[in-house]
Amino acid sequence: MIRLPKIIEIKGLTKHFPGVTALSNVDLEITQGEVHVLVGENGAGKSSLIKILCGIYQPDEGEILYLGNKYAPANTQDAIKSGIRVVYQELNLLSYMSVAENIFFERLPSKAGLVDFNKLYRDAKSMLDEVGLKISPRTPVHMLGIAQMQLVEIAKALSGDSKVLILDEPTATLTSKEINRLFEIIKRLKQKGVTIIYISHRLQETFEIGDRITVLRNGLKVDTRLTSEVTIPEIVKMMVGRDMASEYPYQESVKVGAEVFRVEELIYQGNDKPISFSVKAGEILGVAGLIGSGRTETMRAIFGADPKRSGKIFLNGNELVIKQPKDAVDGGICLLTEDRKGQGLILDMSCEVNTSLANLAGVSHSGLMEFRKEADVATRFVDELSIKTSSTKKWVRFLSGGNQQKVVLAKWLFRNCQVLIFDEPTRGIDVGAKYEIYMLLWKLAGQGKAIIVVSSDLPELMGISHRIAVFSNGKIAGEVMRDEFDQEKILSIAYREYLKIGSVKEN
């Protein structure tokens, strides 16, 4: 193999935080024009490494050479000026400004002190073409889907003439079609000589797109390998430091009982098609479909998070009138929202507060908080779900994604609902934590709960569900039983209703 020039050379990088060593003596070389994949469990040090590269953190020891020169950005601006940019998992766009303004926000073209909108829209159009996004640059960002926003972020990153593009979990919210398009774009960028550092928990796709893969564990670099010379099980083993029996536990022993939960002719706001389905005790119902196909909308309407136009919901044969989330929770239905940080957690409050949030009656007496009890409850769930935190008093903001999700789980477990709806429960979570969440789902199923899991990760759904309901364009286009699970079959159902209209809606 021809040795290409190194663009980034990291030597002995170390970063400490109070009580934790995030990175310990890490050496890493990034070759010009490669797609270099970083994997590791949450807390392995990936984010710290990225944050040092883009100037948010400063290393305690070690140095970085960038294009042969010493590189020590003091802040994000420095990094951007040098040509290193990150597209974060949490998108940082200004919702009510246009796509064009977002792309060129840092340096709007001006003429005589005024924004030159003609040039702005022209330039933005060419950037959008570059990433293959066919929308008007005048569109306000809040009208876009998540996948489109992601592409706008990438366009923004590219507009600054970046040499190194760091993609942090870019596919977490995308459907497989959107992922394919993203990969096309990555390949094109690569041909242009842009170096890409790619972070993802989805190992399958990292093999598809990556040239080399580096595994981090507990702040140490385990190894860097060519993706062509290593297998997924080997990588997983490097990541978790042990063999895992299987990626998806499926437990035959769990008995599926009688019907517990039924939704009849539900029409959510903005839709005109009735949706009906039911879930049995101990059953895990997978819900598949493209983003915008109505899966999340339906779940939110059931839960009362968004208004619904019509429809009935039955629990154990009795109708539940749900006008707001309170009605659903009181009735025994809970929803883990897809937006964990924005809607599931109170980030600047402790693990204890978050755990008791849905069941304050359980930690209070005649209106007064019982803090001892609350602390005990939190400690119990921290142990039970092996949530990694130095204290139950610590703000959940400082926990890793997987541990944050476990706190949300703890909240609903403490509430003890009979029907649990999980919307993207494993998004942006590492392999180890994913496995623990699957095991927990099975434990709940074993207790006779009715479980609904919405996910964009089809292999995951096929791995854990008894049955999969496939949404397509606002209705359930089909249901597939476990013994008939087949990726292509499910995908074809997911697209079915869009094809009927004659064209696939741009998503």
């Binding site: 995030a22 707001q324 989330p325 929202t337 924005g342 599931g344 600047d348 908080m369 703000w395 400082f398």
Partner: protein
């Protein structure tokens, strides 16, 4: 409360506590009269009313809201209470009792209006309470025919000037209100909801609660403190007037903000608010004693509010960075 808890509380409030101490020392040195017993009694009397209103204001600001109507509502409450207390058909005891009741009823109704309108039609409380600011002032002028009410019962007037070893009774009331406020905020389910809603209302809603209920309640509670403050003001001035309380809302907001409560909600404490009110009171008094003119005093007070908030942002950043 054990020693460790007291220490951590001190540390958390230390910045502002130290600032208060420093101010006192500076004034005591610059103006010998500042530390005299009479002047201390005077300061304690002056800060009592703002302290009580600020306790109520803390609840609304913790929710990310605000109550601009407190000054006008206070004026309206003094008018209503003044009409009751000067009604000759009541005995003194009954008159005072009914006056307190009337004052609280008026202010809590105004609070209910503020909270309900803001929540029912999702109007920012800034607007709703700005409306109430005008409504209540107008009502006070209308009801009183813009006349001042005096001739309160003698016993009532005397109580207002009584003190217990130099500590005025109305200050003792204010301290009790601070402690009750702190208890509600830190120990009750309602207080927990206030912090939680201020931090992330949507997460609270999706956890099966009705945030609107708690928000409306917070405005009613804020109203209650104003009702009490109105009676305390009458005890002090021995009059009711429709032009009382102008600018009280700004003073209360300043106390809350100096006390470290975030205007975007979710973070802050009652002890901080109390210290904030103390700082404002000490400044008002001390600056006069060192001979500063009225205009310059306003400039200095304004600057100190801004500086206090700037310091607080550094404190927040610092505590943020030290967490891993």
């Amino acid at each position: 409360m054990n020693a460790k808890k007291i220490l951590s509380l001190l540390l958390r409030e230390a910045g502002i506590g130290l600032a208060l101490l420093l101010l006192c020392v500076v004034f005591a040195v610059a103006a010998p009269r500042f530390a005299s017993a009479t002047n201390i009694t005077n300061i304690l009397t002056q800060i009592s009313i703002n302290t009580v209103i600020s306790v109520g204001m803390t609840f609304t600001i913790l929710l990310g809201g605000i109550d601009l109507s407190v000054g006008s509502v206070l004026a309206l409450a003094t008018i209503i209470a003044g009409k009751i207390i000067t009604n000759p058909s009541f005995s003194v005891g009954t008159a005072v009792f009914l006056a307190v009741l009337g004052s609280m009823a008026v202010t809590m109704t105004c609070g209910l209006f503020n909270g309900f309108v803001s929540e029912r039609w999702k109007i920012h409380p800034f607007i709703t309470t700005l409306g109430m600011l005008n409504i209540a002032r107008g009502a006070a002028l209308q009801v009183s025919q813009s006349r001042t009410i005096f001739n309160f019962p003698e016993a009532f007037n005397v109580f207002g000037s009584l003190s217990f070893f130099g500590i005025p009774y109305i200050f003792i009331i204010a301290v009790v209100v601070v402690f009750v406020g702190r208890f509600i905020l830190n120990r009750t389910v309602f207080g927990r909801m206030i912090y939680a809603i201020g931090n992330n209302e949507e997460a609270v809603r999706l956890s099966g609660h009705t945030p609107s209920f708690y928000k409306v309640l917070a405005y009613v509670l804020c109203g209650a403190t104003v009702g009490l403050a109105a009676i305390m003001y009458m005890l002090r001035l021995n009059i009711s007037s429709p032009i009382l309380g102008v600018g009280f809302e700004l003073k209360a907001i300043a106390a809350v903000v100096i006390g470290g409560t975030s205007m975007s909600g979710g973070k802050g404490s009652m002890v901080g608010t109390f210290l904030g009110a103390c700082i404002i009171g000490v400044l008002d008094n001390g600056l006069i004693l060192i001979g500063m003119g009225d205009f310059v005093r306003q400039i200095v007070t304004g600057l100190i509010i801004v500086v206090a908030v700037i310091i607080d942002t550094y404190r927040a950043k610092f505590s943020f960075k030290t967490e891993a």
